[in-house]
């Protein structure tokens, strides 16, 4: 039996239980999602990525549809935030929103806004959910060309599976005009003693003229040396006219953890969005990012960084769709791959007809430290508009041997010299972070990562 059928059968069998522990506004989307999943299936597409969702999902994961409370000790919920960054911390343990009774940790939410459980929000505000939920993840867009369709199809099945089974998750809802100065931090913790799949759903809505920043940290605990953990994570982000959002995602998974992430972003006129995907350690991760700039004057900065070693595998598959004139997108991805790590960057930019005066730039640079490390870089830029400024470039290289020797002649030990070069390589992609405390923290983490001092599986390095 194919994994799709297996999960669809599970859904039909457990429908009542799933609905009972969720909210009507979420339940309303399940049947349609099951249909999409049956039709589209789990596709890797004809691309050169490494992580195959069908293969990942063929494994027999258990789910927590009855929403048993996951025993979580005080120590598992991390003790302090990034210094000066945020006291505004929220937690998902697997897919469940865990409310902290500790008032000091959760800042007051401005009037008309919401930060917290998706299930609760769907019960309180079905109107808002109706307007946004599954509006990006649940449909095929109107791109005519075959390549774009392939890009879309390779996340559609996974998102449909998510919508079919999802019961809870996290919502950040910022009402029009509200400036949330303090960053919100969400910690996603995978926690199970057996093979387990967490169906995580995130919804971020920043209405017209509003402003917010969100840092999502993905972690996997290691309670059992054999348990494989999967996070099936679908995120929808809506950014209104003149609104600003900084959205950073930091992953620290271990070798038995898999992440299938799909991030959908819709930007309206004159909105300003910065997205940063920082993969410090992964097991197997496949990140899909799909950003649409649907109205004029929107600005996007999409940055990604990966430090991979051992047998880690990471795919970043990005699709930036310029649908309106006068928008700009600036995309930069950098990988350092050690040992037998495998990475891919498949980046597509489409500048549609009429999207004149688009400014779109894509850069992908990679360092392979060993001959066994493998990197696939596929930049794609397709332009159907006039008077545009577009560029793209990708490189895969090694550390600069001349620079290495030069440093060693000054007495810098080889290991240290390599480290300085790797760190220098990551400079711009870290400096692009607009949240200063996060930028400083990440510098420190990346350095620790390169020194092999980053604890792969325990706790939140951002918060320590």
């Amino acid at each position: 039996m194919s994994p799709e059928t297996q999960y669809i059968d599970l859904f039909h069998g457990q429908r009542a239980l799933i609905d009972e522990h969720s909210a009507p506004a979420l339940n309303a989307h399940r049947d349609r999602a099951a249909e999409v999943l049956a039709n589209v299936g789990l596709q890797r597409g004809k691309d050169a990525s490494h992580v195959d969702p069908a293969e990942v999902l063929a494994k027999d994961y258990s789910l927590n549809l009855a929403r048993y409370e996951v025993p979580t000790e005080r120590d598992d919920i991390f003790t302090c935030a990034v210094p000066e960054m945020s006291t505004n911390m929220h937690f998902l343990v697997n897919e469940q929103y865990v409310s902290l009774r500790d008032e000091n940790r959760v800042a007051a939410v401005p009037d008309g806004c919401y930060v917290g459980s998706l299930r609760e929000f769907a019960r309180q505000r079905p109107d808002v959910i109706g307007r946004y939920y599954n509006q990006l993840a649940g449909r095929r867009t109107d791109t005519g060309d075959v390549r774009s369709k392939q890009y879309e199809a390779c996340s559609l099945g996974e998102s449909a599976l998510n919508t079919m089974l999802c019961q809870d998750g996290f919502v950040l809802y910022v009402a029009a005009g509200v400036q949330m100065e303090r960053p919100v931090q969400l910690i996603n913790l995978l926690r199970a003693v057996e093979d387990f799949m967490a169906v995580q759903r995130l919804l971020v809505i920043v209405e017209d003229g509003a402003k917010a920043s969100l840092l999502v940290c993905d972690h996997a605990s290691r309670l059992n040396e054999e348990a494989h953990l999967l996070s099936l994570q679908t995120t929808e982000v809506f950014v209104g006219r003149g609104a600003t959002l900084d959205f950073y995602s930091l992953e620290e998974h271990h070798d038995l953890a898999t992440r299938l992430g799909q991030l959908y972003v819709r930007q309206q006129g004159a909105s300003n969005v910065a997205i940063g995907q920082y993969s410090l350690t992964v097991g197997q991760t496949r990140n899909r990012v799909h950003v649409e700039l649907v109205e004029p004057d929107a600005q996007l900065q999409l940055y990604g960084m990966a430090t991979l070693d051992a047998d880690q595998q990471l795919d970043n598959i990005t699709f930036i769709d310029h649908k309106a004139p006068n928008c700009s997108s600036n995309e930069l991805f950098k990988y350092v791959l050690d040992d037998r790590a495998k990475g891919s960057f498949l980046g597509r930019i489409l500048v549609r007809q009429g999207s004149d005066k688009t400014d779109a730039h894509q850069t992908d640079r990679n360092l392979c430290l060993t001959p066994e490390a493998r990197m696939v870089a596929r930049p794609e830029l397709e332009i159907y508009a006039d008077d545009v400024k577009c560029s793209h470039g990708a490189t895969v290289g090694q550390l600069d041997q001349q620079a290495l020797f030069y440093m060693r002649t000054r007495g810098i030990p080889e290991e240290e010299a390599r480290l300085l070069l790797m760190f220098a390589f990551m400079g711009d992609v870290i400096d692009g972070i607009r949240l200063e405390p996060l930028r400083d923290r990440l510098k420190h983490l990346v350095e620790k990562r390169f020194r092999g001092q980053l604890n792969h599986c325990k706790g939140c390095a951002v918060s320590r």
């Binding site: 001349q402 020797f405 060693r408």
Partner: protein, 252 residues
């Protein structure tokens, strides 16, 4: 005891033999000039002395401070006091001069069993040495050699030399591309380091630098061998007549 002794050194790069039997002895406190036509193998010699992994020693030995130099890693040679001012200094985008120098100085101190310098001590040292070669503060705040002019790069080499205070410094055409003032500043930097223990090898095509640093010995390298040894008068003759007479003496 001599500081450096090179015996019958043969070396090749990319399978091609470049050095074909170099013999050279340097005692503490001596300044040696090395001259020779383009492509003779002068920079190859400095690459071998500093342990550039691109070059392969096929025969011979080098004894430095009584130890087998060829057995040492490049960084170890630096800790033991060998410094090369590169003919073509390398740009390292993204690595700041400050981090670069701090790593270098502290690695050397660690090797000598000294404590790492505090941030304040280190910056003070930087300031002091920068003044010696009049290296602009702007340059010291940039990435290593990135966007430096040719002359600025050379000045930066001497700045690094001043920071590390080497026992054996090798200057590979540090004078080329320098304006008159810079040449004097660089030479001053070299002369300041002179002592009874320290020695230098100065590779050059020009007279001016030799006037400033006053070598006691001059060696002519040609086709991978030292074909003539002499005192300052040998240098003067080269500047006056070129290398043709030497080639003739060799029967070419």
């Amino acid at each position: 005891m001599s500081l450096l002794e090179i015996r019958n050194l043969h070396a090749s790069v990319a399978g091609k033999e470049i050095l074909r039997g170099i013999d050279l002895t340097i005692n503490p406190g001596e300044v040696h000039a090395v001259m020779g036509p383009n492509g003779a193998g002068k920079s190859t010699l400095s690459a071998i002395l500093t342990g550039n992994p691109q070059y392969e020693v096929t025969e011979g030995e080098i004894i430095y401070k009584g130890k087998d130099l060829l057995a040492m890693k490049p960084e170890q040679r630096a800790w033991e006091g060998i410094f090369l001012s590169f003919q073509y200094p390398v740009e390292i985008p993204g690595v700041s001069m400050v981090n670069f120098m701090r790593s270098a100085v502290n690695a050397q101190r660690e090797y000598r069993g000294e404590a790492a310098l505090s941030a304040t001590e280190f910056l003070k040292l930087m300031r002091e040495k920068r003044a010696v070669v009049q290296l602009d503060n702007k340059l010291a705040n940039r990435s290593v050699n990135e966007g430096f002019s040719g002359g600025e790069k050379k000045r930066n080499e001497i700045f690094q030399m001043a920071m590390l205070e080497p026992t054996l410094s090798i200057l590979d055409e540090t004078d080329s591309g320098l304006d008159v003032d810079a040449l004097r500043i660089v030479s001053d930097g070299v002369n300041r380091l002179k002592s009874a223990e320290r020695s230098s090898i100065v590779i050059t095509h020009y007279q001016k630098l030799l006037e400033y640093v006053q070598p006691q010995f001059v060696h002519i390298v040609y086709k991978g061998r030292i074909v003539k040894n002499g005192g300052p008068e040998l240098g003067d003759r080269i500047f006056a007549e070129g290398f043709d007479w030497i080639k003739q003496e060799l029967g070419e």
